[in-house]
Subunit: 486 residues, 2 copies
């Protein structure tokens, strides 16, 4: 194991006051793990930045000093620095050497808890899917709801929490979901959770056997099921969503679907398949897990109702405030078949361990007061406008790229010519774009041939930043020539 503890002359420029040990200007690196020396050095530097040991704007040691200290080639250090500059972790500034980037506060790369999101925070333009515009969080309305909710909450709201969630929220959700999503339920069948993944984890722990999933979907969700000891079986996805007709040939007794807006390919589940999957669940005593992640954002017509409405005893519906308000709220809800309520509560535990009571009370008041409807109406207009601009600009400036999946939601799929995805993602990174390719969502066991494409989240940028993000995107798209000669 090569170690370096360089006490280099160029100390941190604006290092935060170090109150604990080990946060001084020394750069202690250990080149552990697999890969080439360069890869290990890059990993060690990323870790040092991530852990805060290398604060934003800290100057790095010159190549020579670090190379000598680690006993490695100078070019290796130079190459690692250059690549980390390209990745956005470091910044090279005229006359001041290499420094930790000011905004180098990235989330961790692919780990146990989620898909790789290496670039969200250190890129100029964030077009990663599934997050709403954080600047649009309705602070004033939320504060108003907080005032009203805190004024009327009973004292016991601040005692040990019921793992079902606050009754105020469950009552409001039962009514709201019936009205807006066609969900049929009662407050007793709703269990509050901290988001879709938490709900899926709880369901995974009460389900047996393999779970069928869509061939294209969030790897994170497959990981959550794997964490609960369940294998996943991929169903083919086409323009009508998942081919649920494949289910009878499998050992699966549960299927995870995104019926309102297939994630990420973008189509709604075909009406015939909605009925078919419920019939299958009835026939085999199975369960449909409905991930209604963006069911409230539909632009072409009235939202498609939840599949849950077809048979509340065969569908577990899971929604969250992650797209409608903010992924930082950590509030979700499960609408469960009667026979699963106690089982899910048994694995959730005897008291609320996760969801904070204030957000639960405030969300209940926010929905009940109509503020939620108003916020969604406003955001639907915002996102719809962005979608229209995106489609129009691609049609005008890159007509060889087809835009799909835009009837709903916060993301689109740009179809790319075969084998151009990787190069396009590299070009996008050079333009300062954080983007995901379609291939990263494909189930590794899927029989479907890999498709090339970009999964483009148009929800995340602020209104001001969106046009520039589109400019950068258009620069990164492959030339028309490439569509003919792969």
């Amino acid at each position: 194991m090569r170690r370096s503890w360089v006490n280099y002359p160029e100390g941190p420029a604006e290092a935060p006051a170090a109150t604990g040990p080990g946060t001084g200007s020394d750069l202690h690196l250990e080149l552990t793990g697999a890969g080439s020396v360069r890869v290990r050095l890059m990993n060690a530097l990323r870790e040092a930045i991530r852990s805060g040991r290398l604060a934003p704007d800290t100057g790095l040691p010159p190549y020579r000093a670090l190379a000598a200290d680690l006993g490695i080639a100078r070019n290796t250090v130079a190459g690692a620095y250059a690549e980390l500059v390209e990745e956005g972790w470091l910044a090279a500034r005229q006359g001041s050497g290499t420094r930790v980037a000011r905004r180098a506060h990235p989330l961790r790369p692919a780990g146990p808890g989620g898909p790789a999101r290496p670039s969200r925070r250190r890129t100029v333009h964030d077009l990663l899917p599934t997050s709403p515009d954080a600047s649009a969080f309705p602070r004033t309305a939320w504060l108003g709801a907080t005032r009203r909710a805190l004024a009327v909450a009973p004292h016991d709201a601040f005692g040990v929490g019921d793992p079902r969630g606050r009754p105020e929220l469950r009552r409001t959700l039962a009514e709201y979901l019936a009205r807006v999503r066609g969900v049929r339920t009662s407050p007793e069948r709703i269990v509050v959770c901290s988001g879709f993944a938490h709900g899926l984890e709880l369901l995974g722990r009460v389900l047996g056997g393999p779970v069928a999933v869509e061939s294209y979907g969030l790897p994170f969700h497959r990981d959550v099921l794997a964490g609960a000891g369940l294998t996943t079986l991929p169903l083919t996805v086409d323009g009508g969503g998942a081919r649920v007709g494949e289910l009878p040939g499998t050992a699966a007794r549960a299927v995870l679907l995104t019926p309102a807006h297939q994630f990420p390919t973008g189509g709604p589940l075909h009406p015939g398949r909605r009925a078919e999957v419920v019939d299958w669940a009835r026939a085999v005593g199975g369960l449909v897990i409905e991930d209604d992640y963006d069911g409230e954002f539909r632009y072409d017509r009235r939202p498609v109702g939840a599949v849950q409405g077809l048979d509340p005893e065969r569908v577990a519906y899971v929604g969250s405030a992650g797209k409608s308000l903010s992924p930082a709220l950590r509030l979700g809800w499960m609408v469960l078949p009667g026979h699963l309520v106690d089982e899910v509560l048994a694995v959730k535990g005897p008291r609320e361990m996760w969801s904070g009571v204030t957000d639960q009370l405030v969300l209940a008041e926010f929905i009940a007061s109509g503020a939620y409807d108003r916020h969604l109406r406003r955001m639907r207009q915002v996102y719809r406008r962005r979608r229209d601009v995106l489609a129009a600009r691609i049609a005008a400036e890159a007509p060889h790229v087809r835009v799909g999946g835009i009837a709903a939601g916060l993301h689109a799929v740009l179809e790319l010519p075969p084998d151009t995805e990787e190069a396009t993602l590299r070009a996008a990174r050079r333009q300062g774009l954080a983007l995901e390719g379609l291939r990263s969502y494909r189930h590794p066991d899927s029989a479907m041939p890999p498709r090339d494409g970009l999964v483009l989240g148009y929800g995340t940028p602020t209104e001001q930043a969106f046009p520039a993000a589109l400019d950068a995107l258009l620069l990164a798209l492959p030339e028309p020539a490439a569509t003919r000669a792969p």
Copy 2:
């Protein structure tokens, strides 16, 4: 399997509007599982109440009808009803038969997530330990902090969350914990979690080998470690806290302690043992997990500082807002040795999945504005007064019962004569008291002989309710005679 689907004439008196299937007035019971017919009937009734199928105030079918329908003896039904009345699930009213109790909304009995708390909500007097007075939650100050926090939060606070937690909160905590608890750290070493159990779970997943614990402690915490695949080894507990001198003879490389106020027996860890356990951790490369659950409530003198201050590289300090503000906030914090930060984040996942951003921002502002200090000062006075009243009344009215562990915290231990704990708990239940016995906290492998006692939480009742709770307690205590003749 015996089933009943009685459509009994006496329907629910005030049943809520049933919006989903299966919530009508029919009583559908399935006597599954282990145990006698009576036990299974009681379980089925508890489940029906818990699940909401039997709403508060719903009338139950007459013994005869249910007995005939299930094909069991009438006396069995009568016995089950009577026992559930005593447990608080049902209420027998003159002239109106047996009904579901109005306040029958208990938490689940012993399950995977915590110790049995069968009685918190359906008893008249809640003296279970570890919860503060829910009616004292500082709503007005919290709302003020919400207003200020929402006004200044950057937009990215409402985007995908960093699993470390909000920087505002980590900065504030680093300063606050240094000032009040003698914790030495920097914001980079703090990881926000949803409470002590969440922090312990994360630590458990990065630790190897058995973990030493105190012979008396929360069974729930042992369960959390077991859930992470770790066995626990009990250390003897005496008046000076855990005998950490036993550590070198064990295979443990980590020890979980409650140094400020041993839970539940109530003493602080002896100063010599504080140094000794840190020396042990240094010698073996081990870790001390410091559960500082009520370190801010000390009545006899200045709070004992955290053990963490002795060696931040060998102690993982975990605190929460559960006692200081409310267990319903679901906010905790881990102060980690540098070498554990990345490992803990790797198991926590690449994005914040649990702690909501609003509570994080508001708590940071609440602490920074001084409102937290003011609230703690006020509550210290409230709890100290209760403690004094408790001690004075026991000394006057039950001088044969010794009160211990009252120099700090929200609970006391009443020492009972040998083999009187169970009878005292039964007597307490008859007085409408929710109470825990000392034996329920004992590690099953402990070499210590079981001790009889009551672990009495004086924090939970409201100010108004506290005197009546003491009245009931004094009625439940064993007579002086029993202390002489066991």
